[in-house]
């Protein structure tokens, strides 16, 4: 939580000025009872009407100054809070972008999105509140006590006794209820989870006649939630009455000692009224404080969660060998022929997994060659190709690109050199052209057209009235599955990378289109090294080398003919499809 303070540093001035003006306002508030006391003791006692009017004027003046101060304070507080939130959001966004796939998998996108949105929003209002109230309330409480002492020491002793007691009660209740509120939230999440599940799985639940069980399950969670709410409610319901009783008992003590002091001639009636006023100011502020504490608690919890993400660091270390180095030394060369990809006994285990997902993978893909990868569900095909652009790092062995370990390249340079089309085609809100430019920001319309043609997507573009300016909606909702897939392929081709990977990315294409695509790929002028992952043997049987995976291990490699002869697994796959 403390680490988040960096993001408010830019607003140090506001963070000081805001509370400062708030305190100034509080000072004027504190002056009010004193002014009133002199109205009573001097104005009334001497019967001086002018004196009363003059001091009435002072009261109004104090109100005006108070207003000015507090508006200024609110402004600074708002500025610091919104600025802080903006800084934090930006930093968090940047941080999330720097995380590797391993961290993205373990945190989960839904969590990251909530942290970015609702958590930071809560934090913003928490900071705003804190700047405005957290200093003001204690200040008024102590200020009122202090002022009481300037009036009469003996009568004011009760303030010294009651304030620490009140602090103990208020903070005690807070400390007890804070973890309980967390529990309430957790139980609410349970209820939410059950509801969601019942909606998404309604067919299965009804097919298996689980309605009654689910109802009982829900009622149970709901009951637990209510019980927790009632329990927490009982504790927080104590806060107001207890503070009320304590402050007013103090008031009684004040009246008694005040009476003694007046009788002895040490105190005037007006001064006693002022003391009583201070006591009631304390009560009002304490109630406010108790209410803001709830908000602050929530904000702290949000802050801790946000900090939790910020403290996760990418498990991937960047290399230092860039593309620019390749002119002098052998390395990645952009746009001029394929690269050699070599797996040397590579193995990979996902974080938290029980066993390797792929192990002991050993092969060479020559520059400009086509490698097919096939195997059953969960055999490790995707994992294998994800290792090339370092979405994940190997846990054993290594992968070399043009003779260098991929881990020694700058990540940015490495990924610029690898075009990968993922299983799920994801397009972004924007025109077709903008989506294509993801592949290469500097691509001309000609290059884009060329890529679209090779990806068999040009006919989709010409079918749209606006051509390349056709706007794709978020997630590509206004395109069919096959259209999205072809655009995703084109996006990778625009880059003209030395290595091209197709991770089961032509599944939504019909056979005719797929074979046209295959032909176009073979004719690419820059001759990239190509990897094609597919369950369909027809998609890979023309490859120069085919890798057959079975439970994460290489069950065989070779050409289609060789494998049919020597590889049992490949034969089975092939036969299951004809």
């Amino acid at each position: 939580m403390k680490e988040l303070l960096v993001y408010i540093k830019e607003y140090t001035k506001e963070c000081i000025l805001g509370p400062f003006f708030k305190l100034l306002e509080a000072c004027f508030d504190l002056a009010v009872p004193i002014v009133m006391a002199s109205v009573i003791d001097k104005g009334i006692a001497s019967g001086d009407k002018w004196y009363i009017f003059k001091y009435g004027g002072i009261l109004i003046l104090l109100a005006v100054i108070g207003l000015t101060c507090s508006v200024t304070a609110q402004f600074f507080a708002a500025r610091a809070a919104t600025g802080f939130a903006a800084n934090l959001r930006y930093a968090l966004f940047k941080h999330i972008e720097s995380l590797s796939f391993t961290e993205i998998d373990s945190i989960g996108t839904a969590t990251m999105i909530t942290r970015m949105t609702s958590d930071i929003n809560q934090l913003q209002s928490g900071v705003n509140m804190a700047l405005r109230l957290f200093l003001r309330s204690p200040f008024i409480v102590f200020g009122a006590a202090l002022m009481a002492f300037t009036i009469d020491v003996k009568a004011a002793v009760v303030f010294v006794v009651v304030i620490p007691l009140l602090a103990v009660v208020v903070f005690g209740i807070m400390l007890i209820s804070m973890p309980l509120f967390k529990k309430v939230q957790a139980r609410l999440d349970d209820v939410l989870g059950i509801t969601r599940q019942n909606l998404t799985g309604v067919r299965v639940i009804r097919a298996f006649n689980k309605e009654q069980a689910e109802l009982a399950n829900f009622a149970d969670s709901n009951e637990k939630l209510t019980a927790m709410q009632l329990f927490v409610g009982k504790i927080s319901a104590l806060a107001n009455p207890v503070t009320y009783v304590m402050v007013n008992i103090a008031l009684i003590v004040l009246l008694w000692t005040g009476g003694i002091q007046i009788n002895a001639g040490n105190l005037t009636q007006g001064e006693l009224v002022a003391l009583v006023n201070y006591m009631s100011q304390i009560l009002v502020e304490l109630v406010k404080l108790a209410n803001t504490i709830v908000l602050a608690t929530k904000a702290v919890a949000c802050g801790t969660r946000v900090q939790g993400i910020l403290s996760v660091n990418s498990s991937m270390q960047d290399g230092d060998y860039g593309i620019e180095d390749s002119a002098r030394k052998p390395g990645l060369q952009k746009k001029s022929g394929g690269a050699e990809v070599k797996f040397e006994h590579a193995g990979m285990k996902y974080k938290g997994a029980g066993a390797n997902s792929v192990s002991d993978i050993d092969f060479i893909a020559k520059p400009g060659s086509i490698t097919g990868i096939t195997g059953g569900t969960g055999s490790g095909k995707s994992t294998l190709v994800n290792l090339i652009p370092r979405f994940y790092d190997v846990s054993e062995g290594c992968i070399k690109l043009n003779g260098r370990d991929v881990r020694t390249y700058k990540l940015d340079a490495l990924r610029q050199s690898v075009g990968i089309v993922l299983q799920k085609s994801i397009l972004f809100h924007g025109t077709i052209r903008e989506n294509m430019l993801w592949g290469n920001k500097d691509a001309s319309d000609e290059e884009i057209t060329e890529a679209l043609k090779a990806a068999q997507a040009w006919e989709i573009v010409t079918g749209k009235e606006k051509g390349l300016d056709y706007v794709i909606e978020q997630g590509g909702r206004n395109l069919s599955g096959g259209q999205k897939q072809r655009f995703a392929i084109a996006r990778a081709l625009v880059r003209k990378p030395p290595v091209l990977i197709f991770d089961d990315s032509s599944s939504a294409l019909d056979f005719a289109t797929e074979s046209k695509l295959r032909k176009a790929l073979q004719e690419l002028s820059y001759n990239p090294t190509i990897f094609i992952v597919s369950q369909r043997t027809s998609s890979i049987q023309h490859a120069d080398n085919i890798l057959v995976l079975e439970d994460g291990e290489l069950a065989g490699q070779g050409t289609h003919e060789e494998l049919l002869k020597n590889c049992e697994v490949y034969r089975e796959i092939y036969n299951s499809q004809v």
Binding site: M36, F53, G56, L59, I60, A63, G66, L67, Q74, A78, T82, Y90, F93, K94, E97, I104, T109, I113, M116, Q124, S125, L188, V191, T195, N198, T200, G201, R203, V204, A207, N209, E211, L215, G233, K234, L238, P241, Y244, V245, N248, L255, I260, N263, G265, T268, Q269, L272, V276, S280, Q281, V284, G354, G378, F391, L422, Q474, D510, D551, E572, I573
Partner: protein, 580 residues
């Protein structure tokens, strides 16, 4: 119209409140006690001040009596406030629990027609977020609105009892407070709208970029994404500043009005003391009132917005809870234990939307133990047939009979107990792998579950998971691939081995080789059992006894694989296109 709906909602809320009548009466009673006692205290304080006029003139005897009286009142106030709070908590949380439970119960018996047409997120937010907001609003309403109104009335009465003219000063200045608050809130509303619009845009961007972080990284698009994020972020920050600042002016402004009231009371009060109309103690008491008088006004205006919001939320929950449920099982519905599986479709008509006919005059006779495959292009009604057999939807006219009984005349439970279903959309329950497989038979032994998993070829991947069968999986868990999820769903049915089977694209995400292996297990399972198989992949359905080729809701061809190929019609075309 809107008002009428509002009234309906309020009526519903009262229906729920009724159950907690006693608590409500108690709450209102103690609220009144609290307010009266709270307001009475300043008067006693004023009296106390009057008992100590000056040096040597303090009446200790009466002061002591008064102080004891005050102590009793203070304690009573504290206790009654506490009881009131507890009553309010009890009313609110219990009502919300009941509302939530009713809504959920209703959801469980709503027809799929409704559930399919509404986004799960929407329904969830009604049951959870709306109900919660309603609770907050109701609690605030109870605690603050009632006590607030009582305080205002009480304060006025108490002030009037002391002095009419000073009270008038207070009453005259009060509307100013309303005016100021109204003026500010109108301005703020616009700014809040701008803020939410900017927030919405930013959330969309976050959704897109963070949600698809892997693609962003694959294309090293991080810098561009950050740049466009930065732009929106700046805009949002600006709108947010405006909205936050203007809304936070309300408080100082009303406090200012409050201070004016205080000054007014102070001056006029002092003048009245001079003329002997009131005592110094009376003035002190007045000042106490003036300090708190405007507070309930602020609170009440806050409560009104909160209550409006709460009512809107309640209306959304009630809308769900009042939705027409599915047709209940008929009174003397039959509960066949084990069906043989003779299925007859008799002139079945069905459509999802009244003016868009889908299935018209569908007839089919399936003998027990037959394997029926349904093929055809997307949207031809394949899945609809299954929806009808499972009674997820009921036919518009015509009937479906199993073993001679109309399925409408059996309980849904017994019907569904007899049918094992695997769908294309896999659904994983939050829980362990074991729980997921045993969903239809929670009492199953570990051996049975492993046997089912082995039969569906799920065992090999399960045993490689971290905790094997005890691994906890989540519905949106990316830890399982689509194919693996589908294998789990198949294992569920393998465990039950029900008399009838429905496989709706059950193997679409599974590789062909594994599918082939599962086919054997399925073949064993289907032996002697009536089964319906919907598949896109024609290799999956070749071995069926009858293949129905559907188009536009009608069967256009019917026969087995060989006879259909021979016929050279739609099916033959579809089949041959695979090899083109």
């Amino acid at each position: 119209m809107a008002k009428e709906r509002n009234n309906d909602t309020i009526k519903m809320v009262f229906k729920y409140i009724k159950k907690y009548k006693i608590s409500v009466v108690l709450s209102l009673f103690f609220a009144a006690v609290t307010v009266v006692l709270t307001l009475y205290l300043p008067i006693l304080t004023g009296d106390a001040v009057d008992y100590m006029a000056a040096k040597g003139r303090v009446d200790f005897e009466r002061l002591l009596q008064l102080i004891i009286k005050m102590a009793v009142i203070i304690c009573l106030t504290g206790i009654s406030q506490w009881i009131m709070n507890i009553c309010n908590n009890k009313i609110t949380y219990n009502i919300v629990r009941n509302i939530r439970e009713d809504a959920f119960n209703r959801m469980e018996i709503l027809p799929l027609k409704y559930l399919d047409a509404h986004a799960p997120g929407d329904i969830t937010s009604r049951i959870i977020a709306d109900a919660d907001q309603f609770a907050d609003g109701l609690l605030m309403g109870f605690t603050q609105a009632f006590t607030g109104i009582l305080s205002i009335i009480g304060t006025l009465l108490f002030m009037l009892s002391i002095n009419i003219w000073i009270t008038l000063v207070v009453v005259i200045v009060t509307p100013l407070s309303f005016f100021v608050a109204g003026f500010i809130s109108k301005r703020t509303y616009k700014m809040f709208q701008m803020q939410s619009a900017a927030r919405g845009k930013q959330t969309a961007l976050i959704d897109e970029m963070i949600g698809n972080q892997k693609v962003v990284q694959a294309y090293s698009h991080e810098d561009e994404a950050l740049e466009s994020f930065g732009e929106i972020n700046k805009k949002l920050s600006k709108y947010s500043l405006d909205a936050t600042f203007y809304s936070s002016i309300t408080n100082p402004a009303t406090r200012f009005v409050n201070n004016l009231v205080y000054a007014g009371v102070g001056v006029t009060g002092a003048l009245f003391v001079l003329n002997g109309f009131i005592t110094v103690g009376g003035l002190s008491c007045f000042l106490g009132y003036a300090g708190q008088y405007t507070k309930p006004f602020n609170e009440i205006s806050g409560v009104i917005t909160e209550l409006q919001n709460a009512l809107a939320c309640a209306a959304r929950v009630f809308e769900l809870a009042n939705e027409e449920p599915q047709v209940p099982d008929v009174k003397d519905a039959r509960t066949p234990e084990t069906l043989k599986g003779e299925v007859v479709f008799d002139n079945v008509h069905f459509s999802y939307v009244p003016d868009k006919k889908l299935i018209t005059g569908f007839n089919l006779h399936v003998k027990p133990g037959q394997r029926i495959a349904i093929a055809g292009p997307t949207g031809c009604g394949k899945t609809t047939l299954i929806n009808l057999v499972m009674r997820f939807y009921d036919p518009t006219s015509g009937s479906i009979k199993i073993d001679g009984t109309d399925i409408k005349d059996m309980t849904r439970k017994s019907l569904r107990n007899n049918i094992g279903m695997v769908l294309q959309e896999t659904w994983i329950k939050d829980g362990t792998i074991f729980d997921n497989i045993a969903i239809g038979k929670p009492e199953a032994s570990k051996e049975e579950v492993i046997k089912a998993a082995k039969a569906s070829h799920a065992h090999s991947f399960i045993k490689r998971l971290k905790d094997g069968y005890d691994t906890v999986v989540k519905e949106d868990g990316s830890s399982l691939s689509q194919g693996q999820k589908q294998l789990l769903c198949i294992a569920r049915v393998m465990l039950l081995s029900p008399p009838m089977l429905i496989l709706d694209e059950a193997t679409s995400s599974i590789d062909t080789r594994t599918e082939l292996k599962i086919q054997n297990a399925f073949a064993k399972l289907m032996e002697g059992r009536t089964s319906f198989i919907v598949a896109h992949r024609l290799s999956t359905i070749q071995n069926a006894d009858i293949i129905l080729v559907m188009k536009d809701g009608n069967i256009i061809e019917q026969g087995n694989h060989e006879s259909l190929l021979e016929k050279g019609g739609f099916y033959a075309n579809l089949y041959n296109s695979q090899f083109a």
